[in-house]
Symmetry: C2
Subunit: 346 residues, 2 copies
């Protein structure tokens, strides 16, 4: 009994709320927050409970970060790039067009200095960030008409957000902000010409193939999309060190689990989509080149007026270029061989 006060202190009962930016129907993304919360509970003998709320249960999805910053909830599960309106530097926590692929962003976060650099930036929002999953390279979305050259982007009304929307706009496109549930009717009526969502597994559920049959790849604006846990800094600091370690470790588990989930579920979904009539199309090379060029121009312009963006951008660009120098040697060559072998019926 002598030791019990110390034990009680190191393992207090804690109840947190985590607001997700996602609906439960996006089960792979939403599920990562549930995986995280379950692990935290399991590792603390049920003493540290985190209740995950879907988008709109506490606050709307895109106000998740604000709720954490204000201390309304202790944490949220969201995508950093939803907040580029506050500061474009938020993009780097999730994805910038022509940025890192999934393995690279995890490497940059965990051992390349990325997480420390971003958390320095997030400080002024009273939050600290942990990786919270990844989708891998996303698809470029659903198009009612084929895109045969960069000229076809002119006047194209597309549901696409953030920095990618700005890039499309510079090439004559008309980016639109439309919530997930409203995309299908807009595509069906022709109010919009195209829409990007996530990838085969999530896209299949919304049935886009029925109203926009050309399914383009790759989503050059999301070579990967990292999800994030943002935790109110003061609430995190109040936790015993033991619970802080539990939170950090559980986040990395969930980070990996979401990617595994997508990688397991996407292959079946793309097969079903193609069997159901979706026409796979690669973006033409001139479209890719034009978008790449405009992206670089945009990054230079933002960097000229935003020193924090500039600092992180230069770190990401260097990390990306070094990473691809190596990636092309062993990893890419192996994948290349395996893809050809499979196509021949291997």
């Amino acid at each position: 009994a002598v030791a019990s006060p110390a034990i009680a202190q190191s393992a207090p009962e804690v109840r947190w709320r985590c607001t997700s930016s996602f609906p439960k129907s996006l089960d792979t993304i939403f599920g990562a927050a549930e995986d995280f919360a379950r692990a935290v509970s399991d590792m603390t003998d049920g003493k540290f409970q985190i209740h995950v709320f879907a988008s709109n249960e506490i606050v709307p999805g895109l106000q998740a970060l604000d709720a954490v910053q204000a201390g309304t909830v202790e944490m949220c599960h969201t995508a950093s790039y939803y907040y580029v309106g506050k500061d474009p530097t938020f993009a780097f926590g999730s994805a910038i067009p022509f940025g890192l692929n999934a393995r690279m962003i995890n490497a940059w976060f965990l051992t390349g200095g990325g997480l420390d650099m971003l958390n320095e930036f997030y400080k002024k929002y009273n939050v600290t960030m942990l990786p919270g999953g990844n989708t891998g390279t996303q698809m470029g979305g659903w198009f009612r008409k084929e895109i045969n050259s960069v000229q076809d982007l002119n006047g194209l009304k597309m549901r696409i957000a953030g920095i990618a929307g700005q890039i499309l706009q510079r090439l004559g496109g008309v980016p639109q902000q439309i919530a997930g549930g409203d995309i299908y009717p807009a595509l069906e009526k022709g109010t919009i010409d195209a829409a990007e969502w996530v990838g085969p597994y999530d896209d299949e559920k919304l049935g886009f193939a029925r109203v926009a049959k050309y399914y383009y790849y790759p989503g050059w604006w999301e070579g990967c999309a990292a999800l994030n846990f943002f935790i109110n800094q003061a609430k995190f600091n109040e936790l015993p060190k033991t619970y802080q370690a539990v939170v950090r470790t559980a986040a990395l588990m969930a980070n990996q689990q979401m990617q595994a989930n997508y990688d397991t579920k996407n292959p079946g979904a793309i097969k079903r989509l193609v069997a159901g009539g979706a026409q796979l199309r690669a973006f033409p090379q001139d479209v890719m080149e034009a978008c790449y060029k405009v992206s670089n121009q945009l990054y230079d312009e933002i960097s000229a007026k935003n020193p924090e963006f500039k600092k992180v951008y230069e770190a990401v660009r260097t990390f990306r270029n070094d990473s691809y120098l190596w990636w092309q040697v062993a990893e890419y060559t192996f994948d290349n061989f395996m893809i050809r072998a499979r196509a021949r019926g291997g």
Copy 2:
């Protein structure tokens, strides 16, 4: 004080030993076991301590699994494919030639049913397995002479182990088993013509470029190499549920951390190796094709006499083929564009 016995029971003092198959000098691999042990300690307020021992401190590196099976130590950090001599089914826990890449093997383990299937097999060795890191696609190794066609494999004395060695042998090569520290002098004297090790970061430390300048890729026998934690089943069962969750979650953290470490360190190493005179060479297409064909023959032969191998092989092959069907669409196309953009000075 009433609650203290229950608290004490749920958080007992536990001391485990983890024997690693690796020397401390392989800091990226060895370090993953240390990361794991540190997280376990941090998450249990220091109550669950796991001491990691380098290869040969308790048992030789290749006897790690036996030590866990016998209960000499509670767990080990090793590579499952070191034990193909017991049963070739052990290969699937780490790598088979022309198998899964790193993201795919994690997906297969975590959500594709792989871990459950393998743990069913490992049961008869009294162990349970958790993922313990990954190297990504390895390099094909160091060659004193260029390999211009499959004929050049004839008579080639190469330090290469396991199933890959058997494949080389069927193509006229002479596989050799040589410990890490003995490779350099063997290559220098010409006792062997080639040697494979890991990838740029680890290879650089051994200085192979000075005695065998052709550095081949990809290591088709290791599209990725997963490392593994094997835990004595009885010892795992004795742990409180809370500690079991801690062990599982910490393993997944370490699994990801090792990959991040390699992905961050390899780019600098390959630049330095090339600057120092290493000549990068891709294996000729006919070499890749011949090795692939022989691998498939070998898998069919083993499957014909080993039902457990057959069952796992068929699961891995299906998962791999489905995975590459999807991989080639978004992920590979994105990487392809980024590699070309970087090469043009992007």
